[in-house]
Symmetry: C2
DNA sequence: GTCTATACCGCGATAGAC
DNA sequence: GTCTATCGCGGTATAGAC
């Protein structure tokens, strides 16, 4: 009775995908605690028992899913960055534009950020994976860029990278995550143009303390 | 036996305080969804029915509490800022130190940030209250400082304030909120010293695009 | 105004048929 | 390998005594 290779039975990888997809929908929509495994199973189109046969428990499913999201560098703009040969100002503006348009404009990405930060107390290893896979490469890439472009006389390349990324993250946080673009208004291009100046022109202050 | 105006009966404000205190403990410890009204009542030392007589429901209690926290400017360092007459570099370093030491070092403040951001999807008015009461005054104060100190030739004071605050918030986010101080290491004073240079020295870039 | 006791529901997780 | 059915617990919210 055992068929050579059944097409409908014995499969698992497809369901795993379906479960992860359903879980992503639910977790991103309602957060960790407010998401029920019943809804996850329903959205995935499988039974709850199947979910528990593929993943140990709710925490395991959540962690697997979020680790997976935090590793998908393609979701962010971490690949098309070394090709450009523009001048520094253009490169930095282009990088920032990509971050603001490709990442911050995606509602799912904003929700993902909310969850990573909101659950960083109870899921610290998740937060660390996010920093390791997303933030660290960005900071290192920018640092490397500042180091390898001597025409930009930056005193401390790592700090310059922090200033650049920090300003952008803070902007996204206020405007997109916290829905407060009207409370502390700031035009996108105005920030970008001036931010570049703050980063690439930073020599020693003649007024020593 | 009935006293003219009993001191132990008919009171309500004390219990309200107790409930808010208990709710703060629980919500800050477990987040919104994972907090139970039973635990809130137990921590407050009252019965669950009393909680529901003082607040409409869980959402109402949560919102009242968080709005209250977001309005407590004293919890942040928003008062002792205009007294100083130092030079700009010292003032900015002092301000940043206060933010990093008084705010970011307090675990409750970190947890509060996690909740505000994590619940900003379902409680947008809470996030907006936080920005209105905390972030906006800080940005405006720094902007005013840059404007009223002509010796700092900053091209765009509002952007400079954003760069300054954004870098600090991002630093706190990585180090304290996301537990990743070891993944992307940065010494506190090294950031502060160089950040000041990035902010107060920002003239026009000779390389126009 | 505050308590105890409870109604009612949905949760995470599992047992057993197929 | 996946399903249906169910267990036990803990959730929010309320009714009624005092």
């Amino acid at each position: 009775m055992k068929k050579p290779k059944s097409v409908e039975r014995e499969l698992s990888a497809e369901k795993t995908e379906a479960i992860l997809d359903g879980a992503m929908q639910e977790f991103l929509a309602h957060g960790y605690a407010a998401t029920s495994m019943d809804k996850v199973a329903a959205t995935a189109g499988v039974s709850k028992a199947t979910v528990y046969s593929h993943f140990q428990d709710k925490q395991g499913l959540f962690s697997s899913l979020m680790q997976r999201l935090a590793s998908k560098k393609e979701l962010f703009n971490l690949q098309k960055l070394q090709a450009v040969q523009d001048n520094p100002a253009s490169f930095l503006k282009g990088f920032a534009s990509g971050m603001l348009d490709n990442v911050a404009a995606d509602p799912q990405m904003i929700t993902f950020l909310r969850i990573i930060i909101g659950e960083s107390g109870r899921f610290p290893e998740l937060a660390r994976a996010f920093v390791q896979n997303i933030e660290k490469p960005v900071l290192e890439m920018l640092t490397q860029y500042f180091v390898s472009h001597p025409e930009i006389q930056v005193q401390d390349p790592e700090v310059a990278a922090r200033v650049f990324v920090g300003t952008l993250v803070h902007f996204v946080l206020l405007r997109d995550v916290l829905h407060s673009g009207d409370i502390v208004p700031m035009e996108r291009d105005r920030l970008l143009n001036n931010l570049v100046n703050h980063v690439i022109i930073a020599k020693t202050d003649p007024n020593k303390t």
